[in-house]
């Protein structure tokens, strides 16, 4: 499995694992019963097949009990999913920084706050296909698209958020480890979709401050 580099990456992985386990449990139970019944009631000399309408309780229980069990497991999955969804998508923790992410065919433009730590000021730093963030800091991202649908995806963060022309969508993340990882577009956006790739550089406090200073000088 790829790195888990955000605060909620493990939560999302856990729910995927639980869905696989719970759905997998019923898959193997159902297949086991299915093949057991085929074997048990296979054709035998002198035994005539019966047609069962399924009205009797002792027959219906083979459908009803698994149905109830699956509903119970579904309930568990839905509750877990809502909890993770709320944490990732519905709530917005107070940000340490805000960045703007703009998707266009076929590149990502990132607007970082400069040394004043405020977005939309004169010292903002614009980069193409290169996002710089500081580890252990909460970021809000303002996601926009200039032309068609895109999807802002950072696999190690477990972020995947559609970008829609005409709308600004706010999301958040907090990186938990330093490193350099892929950013990709996860929504077919034209002939160059497959090469619409960028990198996120997660730096410690000193490293990020050094990058901001060097970028400010370059601009």
């Amino acid at each position: 499995m790829i790195d888990q580099a955000s605060t909620y990456a493990a939560d999302i992985d856990n729910i995927i694992i639980w869905v696989a386990v719970l759905a997998g449990f019923w898959f193997f139970v159902a297949e086991g019963v299915f093949f057991w019944l085929i074997l048990k009631y296979r054709a035998k000399p002198g035994v005539k097949a019966q047609y069962l309408e399924g009205h009797e309780n002792h027959v219906k229980k083979w459908v009803t009990w698994p149905h109830v069990g699956i509903l119970a497991f579904d309930f568990v999955i839905i509750v877990m999913a809502i909890m993770v969804w709320y944490d990732v998508k519905q709530q917005l923790p107070e940000p340490d920084r805000t960045i703007r992410v703009i998707g266009q065919q076929w590149a990502w433009t990132f607007q970082h706050p400069g040394q004043d730590n405020q977005l939309d000021t004169d010292d903002d730093i614009f980069t193409v296909d290169e996002l710089h963030v500081e580890v252990d800091q909460t970021y809000h991202f303002l996601l926009e698209a200039t032309d068609v649908l895109h999807s802002f995806s950072i696999p190690v963060f477990r972020i995947k958020q559609d970008a829609i022309p005409g709308r600004t969508i706010t999301g958040w993340f907090e990186a938990t480890q330093t490193g350099e990882y892929d950013v990709q577009c996860a929504e077919i956006c034209g002939i160059g979709h497959g090469v619409m790739a960028a990198r996120v550089h997660i730096e410690d406090s000193d490293g990020h401050a050094a990058w901001v200073a060097s970028a400010a000088t370059a601009q």
């Binding site: 065919q105 076929w106 193409v128 002939i191 160059g192």
Partner: protein
């Protein structure tokens, strides 16, 4: 047993097809490969390389091979199409990056250079008379009296290019969205010649260039 034999007969062609599909030997460098590669360019630049103003793709048909090659290399190197304000360039750069086999750039450039130039109609309304003075004072040194450019000076022909595209690129040079990379020495020359140009001057010069056809 019969079934086992049948499966062998089925499997052999599948394996052969699989091996054939994995054969990644590219066609030789040249027009045939260029024509094949151009299929990726055609959705935006058009089957004839005439460009499409609606999606801001310029006419490229008939531009010199050396210029097409240099620009594709510039996109690959990130000298072009790497600035947040250059939206059409941002589209072009990843497409240029896909030309990653040895000989791809040469082949597609050769093919595009072989296409007939289209000389798209004018869309701007500059004063050609005023623009002539500016052109003869500055631009002529590299692009020539006839606007056909000079390979030695790495100046492309500009008479066959969309006027809106010329304006867009002059603005890009002026803002630093193009020609600002330290390695782009020829672009830096062009940028130096645009920083003092006003919007009106640009339109006037372009109007004059259109008269050179």
């Amino acid at each position: 047993m019969i079934r086992v034999r049948s499966s062998k007969f089925v499997a052999l062609p599948i394996v052969a097809i699989g091996i054939a599909a994995c054969d990644s030997t590219p066609p030789p460098v040249g027009m045939a490969r260029g024509e094949e590669l151009f299929e990726t360019c055609a959705p935006c630049h058009g089957e004839t390389g005439a460009g499409n103003a609606d999606i801001e793709t310029p006419a490229i048909a008939g531009l010199p091979q050396w210029y097409l090659q240099s620009q594709l290399q510039s996109f690959q190197e990130g000298w072009r199409g790497q600035h947040a304000d250059d939206i059409p360039g941002l589209r072009m750069r990843p497409m240029a990056v896909t030309l990653n086999r040895e000989g791809d750039i040469e082949s597609v450039s050769q093919y595009v250079a072989s296409l007939d130039p289209t000389f798209p109609p004018s869309t701007l309304h500059g004063n050609a008379g005023v623009g002539a003075e500016q052109y003869r004072a500055v631009c002529v040194a590299c692009h020539g009296e006839d606007g056909l450019g000079d390979e030695v000076l790495r100046a492309p022909p500009i008479v066959q290019i969309h006027d809106w595209y010329l304006l867009q690129e002059l603005e890009n040079y002026r803002s630093g969205a193009r020609g600002a990379h330290p390695a782009d020495t020829w672009g830096i020359t062009m940028r130096a010649n645009t920083v003092a140009m006003t919007d009106q001057t640009m339109q006037d010069v372009i109007a004059y260039v259109q008269t050179l056809r």
